[in-house]
Structure formats: C-alpha cells, structure tokens
C-alpha cells in the first residue's frame, strides 16, 4: 500500500511539472473586436508605471522581440498585435496625473478612457472637445487613430492635444509638442502605435454646455445644403450627427439629422448634468437583431428609429451626455459571425452623387449592411496620415459578416468596390479597420503613406514597434 502511494506521488509529480512547463509555453492567441484575425503572440504584458513600461521596452530590444501597443483593441485590423510579438496592454496605465479646471487642461496616462475623464471633469462643468461618439476608448488608442466624433467646431483630436510624452524605440522618454520634437507630433498622432508608446497626454478641455436637440427627417439630396447653411453657419449648433437609411424601401435616400444647439439659458445646465449610464437597451438590441436577419427587420428598424430619434426633438442634453453614446446594445457574440465597421470620407459637394453611385454598386452586391451614421470632419492636414483633405462627410457603415475565409473574401470584394467609388469622388477611408483595402487604394487615399512609413523606418530602424497594419501596407 505504501508502495502504491509512493508510485502514484512520483508519477503525479512528474506529470504536474510537465504540465506546468507546457502551460508556460502554451501559445497565447489574441484578437481585436473585429474578430477576424486571431493571432499567436508571445506574451501579453500590462504595466501600471513608467518604469515598468521602460524596462519592458528595453527587454524587448535586448531579446530582439517585436512590440505592439494595445488599448481597448477596438481597432479591427490587427493594429494592436503582431505574430510572435509582445503585446503591451495599456488599460491599467490609467491615472489622471494633473487636472487644472481653470486653465481647462488635463494630463492623463494613455490607458485612461474618455469615461474616466468625463467622471473627473463633469462636476466642474467641463467637457471633452473632441472624441468618438462613444466613451469606451482609451486616450492612447484614440490619439493613435486621430479620432473624430459629433463635435463640429474643434476639428479632429489632434487639434485638442497640447503635448505628450513618448517612450521611443530606443527606450528613451521624450516630450513631444508643436514646439518640442515637433516633427514627431503629426506622426505619432494618427500613427497607429508605430513610433513608440504614448505615455501621458496633455489636452485642452472645453465648457460643458446645455444643448437642445433638433432632430428631423431629410432627403439625402437636401442634406449637404442643409448642413452648410443651417448647421455650419449657425454658430450655436455645436454638435451634429445624421443617419442614413439602409432599409430596402428607402435605401441610401432617407436620412434624419440630429443637431445639438446651444440653449440661451445655460443656468439649467446643472439640472441635466448627471452623467447618464449605458443602458442595456434591450428593445434596440432586439430590433438590431431583427434587422440582421431580414429586409423586413431593416424596414421596421428604420421606421422605429426615425420615430425614436425625431421624437427627441426639443429635448435637452448636456455636452458630456451627448458624448457618451450607448455601446452595449451593439455587443454581438455570435460564434460564427462578427460585425465590422467601415468609414468613408467624401467632400460635402460630392455627397449626393456619391450616394447615387454607391447605391448602384450595392444594389448588385450582397452585403448585410445594418446601419450608417454620418458625421462631419473639418479639413485637417496636420497629421501625416490625415483622412480629411478638405471639409468632409464621414459615413460609418456597420456590416454583419461571417468569420470564415469565404465570407471574408466575399466582403472584401464588395468593400473594395465601395472604396473605388469613394476614391472616384475624391474621398478617403479610415484606417483602424480590417485590411480590406488594396495597396493601390491605400496609396490613393493616403498619398503621404510612403513618407509616413519612411519616417517610421528612420525613427525605429530595427522595427521594434510592429503590428499587422504596418506589415500589410508598408511593403
């Protein structure tokens, strides 16, 4: 009996050690919200201090490893990882370092989310100048794509950034602003994590304001005029978003617009300034579900949304609350399908003709298009990879597709056609998404991409910072 116990213990000990060893060498798979690029990486590290980040970078330099930087990983084309590379997860590097309400400035570590900042500044009736429509993203991830949102007065995110500190591919820490190391400023912003790790960022804030929502239906042909005359020219309209129908009955024709107009009496601000929470929005989720599966559902959703949003006409909302769009209702965990985004920019005066051409392409193709929102972006040539060559409308498309190779190929074909149409109308497309566009399309939409990648190679000679986006388009 004793003998059996000894035998069992010995065998078990060997098994245990073997298992632990194998476990430590087990491949780690990572993917972003696009879910189309599961990739084997070497390690994932998260850090909470500058010293840790610096030693991680130095270690990777010594070991000849590749580094990718990750925030919330809401980019969709592998911008946050690289095969067998090290992923540095920034989410826990999220302290607010300095906040000066009088000067309306804030300095945060780059893993901080917009939500964290809103929580901090809302009591002082301050708000963020430029951010996405939702507040779930990290500051570092947003800056690295030079995000834009509903605000129509402050330009892109780059315009609101005063300075930041960068952990370089050599492992040094430098200040970057429009006056210090200024050549890096327009490269790192919109730089997709290829120039180093953004450590902390100093940004300008603005006042929280009380807006009245103005919402109405409009025909797509009247929209550019409406926007130019009634929105752009009216200084009091601070934010704007529009939606474009994907319902078969009114495909790419019917729209409704939502304007956020400054109210005359700002004294009521405090009554509305409690930050609203993301609701589960079960009805919205259900309707979106129906529209995934049928044209009938799409028509129904459009009618309902129309009533819902136009019904908000006249309501009051603060800037902070207008900048925390719901995101939960979009969560989707179908095991074999995923939902991806595309974003196309077109000059304002091309808009109606563009939609006519897009419609004739899409009428012949099979694409499960669930939603299109329209935003406005100001001309902005500061960032090297700038998408707004002039004042443009930005169309964000939500597409439901399968995850397998065949489905990816199918979607690719349609998306490349849509991008061709966009380019024909002097447009451009947004880079945080899946690598559907061809190299030729990239070259046309981003004429300075060669310069961008050239600068990257000069600054990071050993190509320490890598990701799948860089691999795809830098060759």
């Amino acid at each position: 009996m004793k003998k059996s116990i000894v035998i069992v213990s010995t065998l078990y000990g060997i098994g245990l050690i073997l298992s632990l060893w194998l476990y430590n060498h087990k491949p780690i798979f990572i993917e972003d919200v696009g879910q189309l690029l599961p990739t084997k990486v070497k390690e994932i590290h998260s850090a909470t201090s500058e010293a840790e980040l610096q030693s991680l970078v130095k270690e990777s330099i010594n070991n000849n490893e590749k580094i990718s930087v990750a925030g919330m990983q809401h980019s969709q084309g592998g911008q946050t990882y690289y095969p067998n590379g090290v992923v540095i997860d920034m989410k826990k590097y999220n302290k607010i370092l300095d906040y000066n309400p009088h000067e309306k400035m804030i300095t945060v570590q780059s893993g901080t989310t917009w939500e964290d900042i809103q929580q901090k500044i809302n009591p002082d009736h301050l708000a963020i100048r430029v951010m996405q429509s939702q507040n779930i993203f990290t500051v570092g991830g947003s800056i690295s794509v030079n995000a834009h949102g509903r605000d129509i007065r402050y330009g892109s995110l780059i315009d609101t950034v005063e300075s930041f500190r960068l952990l370089t591919p050599q492992g040094d820490i430098i200040n970057v602003s429009r006056t210090e190391n200024s050549n890096l400023f327009p490269l790192v912003i919109g730089g997709y994590g290829l120039f180093g790790i953004i450590l902390d960022v100093t940004m300008h804030l603005t006042d929280d304001e009380l807006y009245q929502i103005r919402s109405r239906s409009i025909d797509y042909q009247d929209y550019p005029d409406y926007f130019t005359h009634d929105v752009k020219n009216n200084e009091n309209i601070r934010m704007h978003i529009a939606r474009l129908s994907v319902a078969p009955d009114s495909f790419l024709r019917d729209m409704y617009v939502t304007d956020y107009e400054l109210t005359e009496n700002q004294n009521n601000l405090a009554n509305y300034s409690e930050l609203k929470r993301d609701t589960l929005a079960a009805p919205q989720k259900f309707m979106l579900g129906l529209s995934r599966y049928s044209d009938w559902g799409k028509n129904l959703l459009w009618d309902m949304q129309n009533k819902l949003y136009v019904g908000q006409d006249g309501n009051y909302i603060t800037r902070n609350n207008a900048m925390r769009g719901d995101s939960k209702f979009m969560e989707y965990d179908n095991p074999s399908k995923t939902e991806i985004l595309q974003e196309y920019f077109v000059p304002i005066d091309e808009f109606s003709m563009y939609l006519d051409d897009l419609r004739s392409v899409l009428e012949k193709e099979e694409l499960n298009l669930l939603n299109i929102t329209v935003r406005y972006v100001n001309e902005d040539n500061e960032a090297v990879l700038s998408y707004a060559k002039e004042d443009m409308f930005a169309l964000v498309l939500l597409i439901n597709q399968g995850k397998n190779k065949k489905e990816i190929e199918k979607t690719k074909k349609v998306i490349q056609k849509m991008i061709d149409v966009t380019l024909q109308h002097d447009g451009s497309y947004y880079l945080p998404y899946y690598s559907y566009p061809t190299q030729a399309q990239m070259d046309e939409a981003y004429p300075k991409n060669k310069e961008f990648f050239e600068q990257k190679k000069q600054f990071d000679t050993n190509e320490l910072f890598m990701n799948l986006f860089y691999k795809e388009y830098s060759q």
């Binding site: 009996m1 116990i5 213990s9 078990y12 098994g15 298992s19 476990y23 095991p335």
Partner: protein, 178 residues
Amino acid sequence: MNFRKFLIAQSILIAASSVVFPFYLLLIKNVGDSYSQFGWAYGLFTLTAALTYPIIGRLGDRYGDKKMLLIYTLGMAAVMLLIPLLYEVWQVYMIQIMMGILGAIQKNTEKAFLARNNDNETAGERIGKYHLQISLWSGLGIILTGYLIDFLTIASLFYLISFVYIIASFVIIKRERI
C-alpha cells in the same frame, strides 16, 4: 472497500467535479468557435460514455469497485493537468472522449457499489443518506468556487482540483482502518 470509505471518496470526487465543471464548460465554449463544435464536444462525451458502459460494468465485476474508482480518480487527476493546456478543438475532442470514459467508470461503479449491498429492506434509506452527503458536498463545492475564483486564475483552479483528486486516490488506496 467499506461504505464509509466509499462515501468519503465519493464526496471528495463529487465536490471536486462540481467545482471545475462550470469553468470547464466555459473553456470548451471558448476554444470552439461555433455551436456545432460545442455540440460535437458534448456529444462525444455522452456517446463514448454510452459505448463504454457495458465493458466497464464487466471490468468492475472482475476487478472490484475499489480498483475502478482508483482508475477514475487518477484519470481525472491526469485530465485536470491536461485541461489548462488545451487550445485547439481536436484537443478538446480528445479530452471529451477521455472524460466520457472516466465519467462512465464513475457512474457505473457508484451504482454497482450501492447495489452490491444486501440490505434490500433498507436500501432506500441507505441510498437516501448517501445522496444527502454527496449533494451537500457538491453544493458546498459550487458555493466555494464562487469565492475561490476571485483569488485564483482558472488554470490554477484546475491544478488545485487535480491535487484534490490525488488526495482522494490516497483515501481509496489506504487500508480500511476507518
């Protein structure tokens, strides 16, 4: 093997499997990327169990319940060492087949052991008491996990439970002094 020892061993085994079960489910769901794969993984488990029951029954009669239970315990200890290593679907299928066989051994041996007692008059009462104990332990196991998981990673939970199975095997091996 006397009844008391059987009861202690079973209580440990049942509690251990209640602890890991929810996490195991989560794991096989994450490894596969479609519900049909999940269905296959689960179906394989049940099917292998079904096909092996007759053989296991006969082996139990020949070698005795104690040996069967020991095989189950050691087998599960080994499987728990493998689970943290899984990352591909075929590996999950293999584990499901092993678990199917082991599960069948456990279930069949449990019932055979309970049936081998010659107390036809009071069998109901005895089995009732047995189930009370077993269910209590399983309930405790499940509740405990809710707290444990805050302190452990899922992988270390499987290692811990593997160790528990080894302890159970010692209980079974030990001469009946209790």
